[in-house]
């Protein structure tokens, strides 16, 4: 079954975007000693992302695999490449003056960022569990460093260590799971597992199921599903805000991509998978939303909200139909835009002296920075799922898939959760618009790059909300290739 010909003649076009990112990262790395690199690094990284994106666009519609079946290039993987690259690009833009204001504007950051994106792309574009694992590590190790990037801040260090320990713990589960599956199936390639599924399940079903459960736990950590979520608030809160922005979208999207690929392609025939996801989805939505109600820090609130949003995506995983996969991808895209937008504003406001993103700091924002307040309100309405934002359409599409497959109770739990979330998102709007500032707030300087990031995220949030047709078509075509 292994395609030896392609091993001899590796098809580099399959991994062209990854290679571009690698080259960009290498260039920055080589020139780090050059002092001016701090100013050029973001530009080089951004250029790398844009070129990689161009290559990734070219990959749409082709379905092939190479490197002895280790790399799979299908629409599903490609659309996730777009998501990772968009998230990375926007994360570079939204940094603005943040790193400088904290004295941590070092070029290494961009090396870490691009390498991490490279790892995500590797994760999403393979059917081999070992490659997924390597991709995961390539993604995660830079993330640990990024979390602790503000090395003079205790909280940032705590975030880094916590993330690292939890990440290592999760990895252990994952690796054990892969080992079990290898033991049961004699292969780590999902394609092989799918082909021989009945034979494997009949013979060594116990090992297979144990492996599947362990993998689910491992990625449960990564995606932040309850009860594996406890690291998220501290890490999100402690890490520098642009890093948190990146954390909350890109690695999460990568974990979702892998979950979709493993459980809806690889082990779609195991009924227990859907039941487990049902429980995870309900727990994740509910715990995330309820705990977010009590937060007094915007970053922490957004951390819990990101848990809740993972819960909505898990609803799609529970449902598991083609419509649900398409809905999950749509939701990830939507969430990427509005969540990054929200974080971009939080990061901007933190460039003011002594700002810690407590709720009180937002008071009177509608007066001191009316446009930022308006955009923040738009993102909050998107997060809580109000029309005509894409946040509404994303939720609508997920619940549509759920009801289509008769998961009515799950959909009801979902909308009730979405109801709970309205309260804390509107609290942000309330503080910005209804509360008066205790002391006059300083004006906020908006660098051009951050402005660009905000324009892109806002246009996407409202544009895809009003005209989702095009994006829907893409997500519908983003199905797994059965090569």
């Amino acid at each position: 079954m292994v395609d030896y010909v392609s091993t001899v003649n590796p098809d580099f076009s399959l991994i062209a975007p990854e290679l571009v990112l690698l080259i960009a990262a290498s260039i920055i790395m080589v020139f780090i000693p050059w002092r001016k690199m701090a100013t050029f690094a973001p530009a080089i990284a951004l250029l790398g992302v844009v070129v990689a994106f161009a290559y990734a666009i070219g990959q749409w519609g082709h379905q092939s695999s190479g490197f002895a079946g280790m790399v799979t290039c299908d629409n599903f993987g490609v659309i996730f490449k777009w998501i990772f690259l968009t998230a990375t690009g926007l994360s570079i833009l939204l940094i603005g003056q943040y790193m400088k204001s904290r004295g941590i504007d070092r070029p290494e950051y961009f090396v870490l960022l691009t390498i991490s994106a490279l790892g995500m792309m590797a994760m999403a574009n393979t059917t081999d569990l070992v490659v997924m694992f390597i991709g995961l590590e390539v993604m995660s190790v830079p993330l640990y460093v990024m979390a602790a990037f503000n090395r003079r801040s205790l909280e940032s260090n705590e975030a880094g260590i916590k993330y690292f320990l939890m990440g290592a713990f999760a990895t252990a589960f994952l690796l054990m799971g892969i080992a079990f599956i290898y033991g049961a199936a004699g292969t780590t390639n999902l394609r092989q597992v799918v082909t021989d599924f009945n034979y494997i399940a009949a013979g060594r079903g116990m090992y297979l199921y144990a492996g599947v459960a362990l993998i689910m736990i491992g990625f449960g950590f990564k995606v932040g599903a309850v009860p594996f979520h406890s690291w998220i608030p501290d890490v999100y809160h402690g890490a520098p805000t642009p890093v948190t922005a990146f954390f909350s979208v890109a690695p999460k999207a990568a974990a979702v991509a892998v979950l979709l690929r493993i459980f809806l392609y690889g082990f779609a025939d195991i009924t227990m998978v859907s039941h487990s996801f049902w429980v995870l989805a309900v727990l994740t939505m509910t715990v995330g939303n309820v705990l977010a109600l009590r937060q007094n820090n915007v970053k922490r609130m957004l951390a819990y909200s990101s848990i809740a949003h993972a819960g909505y995506i898990l609803v799609a995983l529970t449902v598991g139909t083609d419509a649900a996969i398409s809905a999950a991808i749509f939701y990830v895209i939507a969430y990427t835009f509005f969540n990054l937008g929200a974080f971009a504003i939080v990061a901007l406001l933190e460039t003011r002296m002594g700002a810690e993103s407590e709720f009180e700091e937002l008071a009177g924002l509608s007066k001191s920075a009316p446009y930022l307040a308006l955009l923040l309100a738009v993102f909050m309405f998107a997060l809580s799922g109000f029309p005509p934002t894409v946040g509404f359409f994303g939720k609508f599409y997920i619940f549509r898939a759920a009801i289509e497959s008769n998961f009515v109770s799950l959909a009801v739990i979902g909308v009730l959760n979405s109801f709970v979330s309205v309260y804390y998102y509107l609290r942000v709007v309330k503080t910005c618009y209804f509360d008066e500032a205790e002391k006059p707030q300083k004006a906020v300087f908006v660098p051009a790059t951050v402005g660009l990031a905000l324009v892109v995220t806002t246009v996407a949030t409202l544009g895809f909300g009003l005209f989702p047709q095009q994006l829907l078509q893409f997500t519908k075509q983003a199905i797994f290739a059965f090569l």
Binding site: F386, P388, F392, V408, V415
Partner: protein
């Protein structure tokens, strides 16, 4: 030609234009808002003129695919019921813009932007014939209303704003699930994905899902009406909202609830409507009496008017669920009447509030001497709210009671007592505020209402008498629409009963020769 799209989008485009005006130029902003609202009103008059009063079904329809892969259409169309509500909305919008001329002092730009967006959303709700589109407009309106209450409201505005959004959101999210369920049921039935209200109305549903779906829709609409015991957000929102916010809230937003019943919940789920009829009628009667009794003990004029809304909307609900031509048509007319009378009451309360910065009944007394013109307007409006003959209130309430007596004598008797209570609380309030001696020295120097305020009130008073004396233009337009709703409910129920009979027969036949033909029995499910 498509008249409805310009109607809906005129205020929305207007809000964009307002957004482009620098926020310091408050007079320009007000001027633009007034022009936009007048343009919207003129457009609504065009719609009124284009509307064929003899025609049945939906008129002026527009149907353009929007999200084709999900079967979502931009489908607009109106019948007589929506027509009247549209005109009411555009009239009240102009009056609200005028009434906010002096009373809004801070954040003028945001205020008028919210106002215009709100108008666009409301017009959208009344025109939408696609459930998805309906839902979008329904939800979109929450946002400007949230800001209107929260930024320009009274001392407890934040609490009131959040309560308003949370109550409405709770109902509408469950409605979303119901909409989706309906959508897939229709797909199984007809093999087509659609949110088209007119198509979904043709879907025969078994009784149990109908109950659940009706409950979900009814919850969303009943919160908006508001039906007792879901009314608790209303007094807070009304009392805290700025005058124009209260006018729009009472005048139009509450109508969206009753409109939802008559447009969606009742025709789509006829069996469930019959099942729930007694319960909703009883709740409506409780609302009538409870609202009136609570109004009686209010110390604040604005909360008195707010609770009187609960009572009046109870009448509308009772009329709708009497399910006969008289009562339903009365209910539709009463929706318009309540918009006019209560809107005018809120405007009047706003006018004295601007002068005295209090709304406590005890602070006033003897206003007839210092503000004769105001008192005269106040009296006319108050009498129309009570339902005096020759005012609009009489026409609606009379028809509702007539129809209710026809349907159920007991309901009729209880509801009629509400009319008496209404006279009690209104007249007593009027007496304490307007008659007697000027006891409070602060009231001695009050200025009577100026030309701007008179211009605001005159159209409403004209409408009060016009509808009261010559209501036939309204009846002519609502009659076919109401007839159609009732006919649809009857027809669907009849068809269902026939089907049931056939099913019973086949079942009986099958039982007779159960051994010879053991076929799967899904008859009841389809």
């Amino acid at each position: 030609m498509d008249w409805l799209t310009p109607l809906i989008f005129a205020p929305i485009v207007g809000s964009i234009i307002i957004a482009l005006v620098p926020s310091k130029q408050t007079e320009t902003i007000k001027g633009v808002s007034l022009i936009v609202s007048i343009i919207t009103f003129i457009l609504s008059l065009f719609v009124y003129a284009q509307f064929d009063k003899l025609g049945s079904g939906m008129q002026l329809s527009v149907n353009v695919p929007w999200v084709t892969s999900l079967g979502i259409h931009y489908h607009l169309g109106i019948d007589g019921i929506s027509l009247l509500l549209i005109v009411l909305t555009t009239i009240l919008t102009i009056l609200c813009v005028l009434s906010s001329w002096r009373s809004v002092t801070h954040g003028v730009k945001g205020y008028f932007i919210s106002m215009m967006l709100l108008t666009g959303g409301m017009l959208g709700v009344f025109c939408a014939l696609d459930l998805f589109l309906f839902y979008i407009f329904w939800e979109v309106m929450l946002i400007p209303m949230y800001f209107l209450i929260g930024i320009w409201g009274g001392p407890k505005r934040v609490y009131a704003a959040i309560k308003f959004v949370l109550f409405t959101m709770f109902g509408s999210l469950l409605m979303l699930v119901a909409i989706l369920y309906l959508y897939f049921q229709y797909h199984t039935y007809a093999g087509e994905y659609t949110f088209d209200i007119l198509k979904l109305m043709q879907l025969p549903l078994p009784i149990t899902p109908q109950h659940w779906l009706f409950a979900a829709f009814a919850l969303a609409f009943a919160i908006k009406v508001p039906l007792w015991p879901l009314h608790t957000w209303l007094p807070d929102a009304h009392v805290q909202a700025p005058t124009a916010g209260s006018v729009i809230l009472a005048g139009v937003l509450l109508k969206m609830g009753t409109y939802g019943f008559i447009r969606i919940a009742m025709p789509m789920f006829p069996d469930a409507t019959m099942t729930f009829m007694p319960y909703i009628s009883v709740l409506a009667i409780i609302a009538i009496i409870y609202g009136a009794l609570v109004s009686m003990v209010q110390k604040d004029i604005k909360s008195l008017v707010a609770f009187s809304s609960v009572s009046h909307m109870g009448f509308v609900m009772l009329g709708l669920f009497a399910l006969n031509q008289e009562a339903m048509q009365g209910a539709v007319i009463q929706m318009i009447n309540h918009g006019i009378s209560t809107g005018a009451l809120f405007l009047l309360v706003g006018m004295i509030y601007e002068r005295r910065h209090t709304r406590m009944i005890a602070e006033f007394g003897g206003l007839a001497k210092v503000m004769p013109v105001f008192s005269a307007f106040f009296m006319i409006v108050m009498l129309s709210s009570i339902g005096l003959p020759f005012t609009n209130g009489f026409v609606g309430e009379f028809l509702i009671l007539l129809g209710t007596f026809k349907a159920n004598m007991v309901y009729g008797i209880f509801a009629a007592s509400g009319v008496i209570l209404a006279a009690c609380y209104m007249l007593w309030m009027y007496q304490r505020v307007v008659f007697g001696k000027v006891t409070n020295p602060e009231n001695e120097k009050l200025k009577d209402i100026n030309w701007r305020e008179r211009i605001i009130l005159i159209p409403l008073v004209v409408l009060i008498f016009f509808i009261g004396i010559y209501p036939s233009p309204l009846f002519e337009r609502t009659e076919p629409a109401v007839r159609q709703v009732i006919a649809h409910i009857e027809k669907t129920r009849q068809a269902k009963m026939d089907l049931q009979r056939v099913d019973d027969n086949t079942l009986a036949l099958r039982e007779e020769d159960a051994n010879t033909a053991p076929t799967a029995d899904n008859g009841g499910e389809e």
